[in-house]
Amino acid sequence: MNEQDQITTDPTKPAQRMRAGSMTISATPWIVAALVLIVLPMIFTNNSAITIMNQMAITIVFALAYNMLLGQGGMLSFGHAVYSGIGGFACMHIMNATEFFAVLPLPLLPIFGGLFGMGLAMIVGSFSTRSAGTVFAMISLGVGELIAASSIIIVAFFGGEEGISGDRTYSLPFFGIEFLKQIEVYYLISAWLMISTLLMYLFSRTPIGRMANAVRDNPERAEFLGYSARWVRFYSFIFSGFFAGIAGALFAINYEILTEENLNTTSSGVILLVTFLGGVGFFFGPILGAIVFTLVQTVLSLQTDLWAFYAGVLFVSTVMFFPGGLAGLIMMHVPAFKFGKARHLVLPYIRTLLPGLITILGLSALVEMIFHFRHAATGEDEMTLFWTTFDSHAVFPWIIAIVVTAAAFWITRRNVPGLVEAWHKANNFSGGRT
């Protein structure tokens, strides 16, 4: 394990060097992203893939908004779902205000969601942003719980347990588009995804965005530079609330229903995990987190009832071994690429990661087999795993699974030192890593 320490403990350092160096805004990634978003539904044409991509896009906007607080502002919120939820509920009420909605083109609706999310953030932020740290975190938890609880009690606005629903197609047709089809909604959401992501990125480059970082790192110093840490936090908070509200509005458009789950603490917790999984230290981290988490939640859960268990393992091991998240993991390879030494890593990676992957799959196979052995119906001894059907009550499959897993683990262990060495070689330009 010690060898792995060295690989993983300080992924941020070279990356920071990168970040500090590249402050100019390059248009290329944005154009590529836009093209990809346009092309994606032509590759994945079925509605469920589009629905899942919509869900991803909504989660991305929300996670980026959340990271404006956590990653850029250093504020840990346990109740951020309420800002997105309020935006969504407000949009749903607008959808149901038939006369007004009939003259409003649907693509403009998210602006209202954003404004309502921002409005609530202004109210709560007026007292919660006085300090960061535990006070902020606990106020966010308290306020989050209160609003989530009142969502069931105050039926007039939140609709109780059923929530409130509406029909997006009653809006003013937008250049003839009525948003009847999923694909039309997909392009609407994608457009907003691009707009919000760009705006949030640009925000991080504005004076207030830079000062958010400064206040995160050293609030006292920032105060002696003429900035009120509280106001800087407040501005970050309301802008985060604005984009969270946009995510809520996109949710309203996509699902046409808002319920208590849009506000509750579970949703708030999930967005924290999503953001952290992706990596809070990098702007694009939450994007990765949102994609991976949506896949785990929606696609992996089609495959196994134990998806939540795997998700838990994924989170805990990310925090333990890759605190920079997925983005940190990717960015720690940038120096090697930059210095043209990345090719030294390819072979050792294959040698280590391939058996590593088999180890993980083998372990999960064992977990699945135990689960099947214990919980399957009597007489249903057959189970299918990795396209193989076998008898979970026979000894042979168990032996195979255990032997394969153990062997793969052994090979992984044996090859780790080689990987570490290669890693040092690929990164030795900096001379004497600590």
Binding site: L141, V155, F276, A308, H375
Partner: protein, 318 residues
């Protein structure tokens, strides 16, 4: 009047149970700066372990052994998980415990399944201790009070009268200084974490039979424990006690008496709107105290944080 007494006893039981959880949490938090989100999960583990042991060796062995196992598990989590994450800062630590809470819940479901466990009060304690005006007080509740009070006294004794306690006390107020004094701080951390989680295990073992032993039991209690220590003041054992009892009594009394929002509003001179059914605030008007009893602690916490950020008895800023 008798009902007040009954409610006081009921609230005391709830409060003391909460205290057993918050005592460990406040110790852990103030020493290590870790908001241990998995604390209630250790409480759940306590209940499940106690149940499992009680199947073979009876309730009492379960009550004795389960907390020890939970404590060892907690110490293990500190040693092999938290200590590693510690170097990355407080937020990753917190998220680690957050993920751990999820993982423990999944593990419990994996091992014991998703159903309620038939974990029952032992026969010896399954009688009515006494009755006040027709309200019976079960002997088990008295037993719970005794256990909690005994633990509180024991904890107080260890913290104020022993050397280890002195070090921990010092670490509560001056965590860095203690480190500088050459004490084996990692070992103290592990010990405190182990003891803290063991206390949660005790709470689980004695609460399992009355509050139910099921995979969601940690979630139900989850954040209320944080609320308790924040209200009480971080790092203050007495604060945790006061806040626990306060919450226990507030929620119990709010449930017992039907205080209606309408009466309060009328009382302060706002008259009920004529057409309540069409009023957008109709849901606010019809709120009653039992309806919001378990939400009151959150309101209390937000108010406390706004007006007194270091809690009722806390010395340090939260």
């Amino acid at each position: 009047m008798e009902l007040v007494l009954v409610n006081l006893i009921d609230g005391l039981v709830t409060g003391l149970l909460l205290f057993m959880l918050s005592a460990g949490l406040t110790l852990i938090f103030s020493m290590m700066g870790v908001l241990n989100f998995a604390h209630a999960s250790f409480y759940m583990l306590g209940a499940y372990f106690a149940y499992q042991i009680s199947l073979y060796m009876g309730f009492w062995v379960g009550l004795l052994v389960a907390p020890i196992i939970v404590g060892i598990a907690g110490a293990g989590v500190e040693r092999y998980g938290l200590r590693r994450v510690h170097q990355y800062g407080h937020v990753p630590e917190l998220i680690f415990t957050f993920g751990l809470a999820l993982l423990i819940e999944e593990l419990v479901q994996f091992i014991w399944g998703k159903n309620q466990m038939p974990f029952d009060i032992p026969e010896v304690l399954n009688f009515t201790a006494f009755a006040i005006a027709g309200n019976s007080i079960p002997a088990y509740k008295i037993f719970m009070i005794f256990i909690s009070v005994a633990i509180f006294i024991g904890l107080l004794f260890v913290l104020t009268k022993t050397r280890v306690g002195m070090i921990i006390q010092a670490a509560l107020s001056y965590p860095r200084t203690v480190e500088a004094l050459g004490h084996n701080v990692p070992l103290i951390f592990m010990g405190v974490f182990g003891v803290g989680t063991a206390l949660a295990g005790v709470a689980g073992a004695i609460a399992g039979p009355v509050l139910g032993t099921f995979p969601g039991m940690a979630f139900v209690l989850g954040s209320i424990v944080f609320v308790t220590i924040v209200i009480g003041g971080l790092g203050s054992l007495w604060g945790a006690l006061v806040a626990s009892l306060l919450i226990g009594w507030i929620t119990t009394f709010a449930k017992s008496y039907n205080i209606r929002m309408e009466d309060i509003l009328n009382g302060i001179g706002i008259s009920t709107p004529e057409y309540l059914d069409d009023n957008i605030f109709r849901d606010l008007w019809t709120i009653t105290s039992p309806q919001i009893a378990d939400i009151l602690p959150y309101i209390l916490m937000v108010l406390i944080l706004i007006f007194r950020p270091y809690g009722l008895l806390g010395k340090r800023d939260a």
